[in-house]
Amino acid sequence: MKKFKWSLLLALLFVVIGLAACGDDETGSSTDDTENTSDNGDDTSAEETEQEEVNLRVVTTMAGTDPAGEVFQQVLDDFQEENPNIKIENDSQSADAGTIRTKVNTDFSSDNEPDLMFYFNTVDADGLIEEGKVVNLEEAEGVDLSGYNSMLEQQRREDGNIYAAPQSGFYEGLFINKKLFEEHGVELPTTWEQYEAAIEKFAETDIVPIAASTEDSYYVVEHYILAAGGMENYSAALADKNEAWAEGLNNIKKHADMGAFTPDAATIDLALAQELFKQEQAAMIFEGSWFWGQLEEAGMGEDVTVLPMPVYAEGGETGELVGGASQGWFISTKAYEDEAKKDAVVSLFNYLTSEETIIKIAEATGQPPAKGELSDLADYLKAGHDLVKNAPAVALPINDRIYPESFTHMRTSVPEIVSGDKQGEEVLEKAVEMAK
């Protein structure tokens, strides 16, 4: 009996190892195949390269519950149908899990880069660009960059080149529950004074004036700096130790003392802050245009409107926005320089950045597209898109452009600023020091 049990266990062990080995074999043989095809490619050289099978690996963040995920897979399927010789491996994963940066960076530094990717054209891509791992799109042969609106120009890097072609943009702003404002007889905050008055009024009621997390205070920090400094100071470099930044941080404390946030603002996360707003327990929230999807799901799209942050700084102008396009399509240098892949990757790139595809994906997300315009938009969405169109200036969020540790320090110090343990100036000083 006992013997039987052990032989059973051993047998199981071998079966599983065998299975694992089989799994290995399977992929092993598939890599052999690709090697074979590239060998053949050398033999027959230019002759009928189009008929050769090409495998492309595409990495994006459009996966899971991202509304673009399904549409994107559909687009890829359509493309493969039109080009039967091109096989696409869709290696997308949600950016929220936090592993995508690690994966992309390791891939690129280990000679395993994806051929095409939809990735952050922010401080995250600095390394890839400096190392020449991605293609300068304007000089790339066959790449079509026509038809873009101003979002393309925003992708231009400090070195003067464009490495990423945007898909759609986003904007951030002050989302307002109009219904609550009406019920409580509060004026919509189009100026700084009205904004402060709204905070004061709601603080007297059971309604939380602003749903926010002070630990996860990305949008709060950005908008308070924008209000205190206007676009000119907002887009200043971190090293400038701009006074408006410190002033903005200190304003958060001032408003917290007025009762602007919930008592547990320091420990809730963004999702719970959003929940406060969606349950109509809060009157305002700083969010981005992706928030509309959730509002629609909660059935309150019509009750909400989005306003630009009221700017009180001299030289600033209300209407200036935090926004832009932080993600774009990159072509890896390795794929571009590979004769067997070059044509395929360029044609896939052009397909994905065609107006038709861009609109298709933008329709799923409701974001302002980088080419063309969405039709049949709900009024509230249209209002948002108009905000972007009429903005005197648009700039990317601060955390997309400064050294990550510095921004984390600023953001996670907000609870201490609120409690009075730290001053905006001090925090900024330390953040600058960290970036050195």
């Binding site: 092993g28 996966a63 899971g64 994963q93 000679d111 929940e275």
Partner: protein, 294 residues
């Protein structure tokens, strides 16, 4: 610590003995404590299951209510996002291999660590403890690079090998802790019977230590199976992705789908519970059959 030597019973010990252990009241007290604790442990499971039948919104607003209008939508969504059958199979191939490899390699090593004398023993012991402390975040990038180098990314082995390595120290420590207390007479008896070391391991120590093998097996399975972080990096592709990868699909910048999340968790729990019940049976048997006369 407590010693073996006979001592006079203290007043408190006598008191406890009379009122807790040997009386009805004592039994009731034990059952009350156990029941209370089991209520706290059943609660989260019930919470997950109930919430998996609610809409996302209700999970935050009325998370502790019974679902008023139960819906299967979350499960339907889960089935649509990934190929569930394939993911389960992937999970079992990966975690099953990890468990068997860890038990086999770890069992042998534990036997040597527990029952044989050699110079490096102390050092190896320290190394094992140290490896329990290495955070996965610290090793993932080099491991991923090695897998790229060996052309194993997105194959089962890409996850099986590092998870085996990561769980071996735990297995060796626990199993050798268990083996250390097996009577020396048994070892000597086996030796007299002409058993070599390997035979001694398979014929004597392995059967006796079966309960600890099951315990270790359960936890190794659990950790391997729930390891989202490494799975996302090493085996993200649909062909080989295990079931936990579903969990990563529940949130994007457009919000977190809590309904899908609870459904995904419910679906990941079920196989582990089955595995646990199965393994528990095994170690119960082992415990009785392995009860050696000392």
């Amino acid at each position: 610590m407590y010693s073996h030597t006979e001592e006079q019973l203290t007043f408190w010990e006598k008191f406890q003995e009379r009122y807790f252990m040997n009386s009805k009241a004592g039994k009731i007290f034990v059952y009350v404590v156990l029941t209370l604790w089991s209520m706290t442990t059943i609660f989260p499971l019930a919470w997950v299951l109930l919430n998996s039948f609610k809409e996302s919104r209700q999970i935050i607003t009325g998370t502790f209510n019974i679902p008023s209008d139960p819906t299967m939508q979350n499960y339907i969504n889960a089935f649509e996002t990934v190929n569930i059958g394939k993911s389960y199979l992937n999970s079992f191939i990966i975690s099953g291999s990890v468990v068997l490899l860890v038990l086999f390699l770890g069992g042998l090593a534990a036997f040597a660590m527990a029952r044989m004398q050699f110079k490096l023993r102390g050092l190896l012991q320290a190394l094992l403890v140290a490896s329990l402390l290495i955070p996965a975040f610290a090793t993932i990038v080099p491991v991923y690079r090695m897998m790229i180098g060996m052309d194993l990314v997105n194959t089962y082995l890409a996850l099986i090998i590092p998870q085996t390595a990561g769980n071996l120290p735990f297995a060796i420590l626990v199993i050798s802790g268990y083996m250390a207390t097996i009577p020396k007479e048994l070892e000597e008896a086996a030796h007299m019977d002409g058993c070599g070391r390997f035979k001694m391991f398979t014929k004597v120590f392995l059967p006796i230590s079966l309960p600890s093998f099951s315990t270790v097996g359960i936890f190794v399975f659990l950790w391997s199976y729930n390891d989202l972080f490494s799975s996302l990096v090493l085996v993200s592709h649909e062909k080989v992705a295990p079931i936990v990868v579903l969990l990563s699909n529940v949130s994007s910048q457009y919000g977190t789908d809590y309904g899908l999340m609870t459904a995904a968790i419910a679906m990941t729990i079920i196989p582990v519970l089955i595995f646990y019940l199965f393994a528990q049976k095994t170690f119960e048997k082992g415990a009785t059959s392995g009860a050696v006369k000392g």
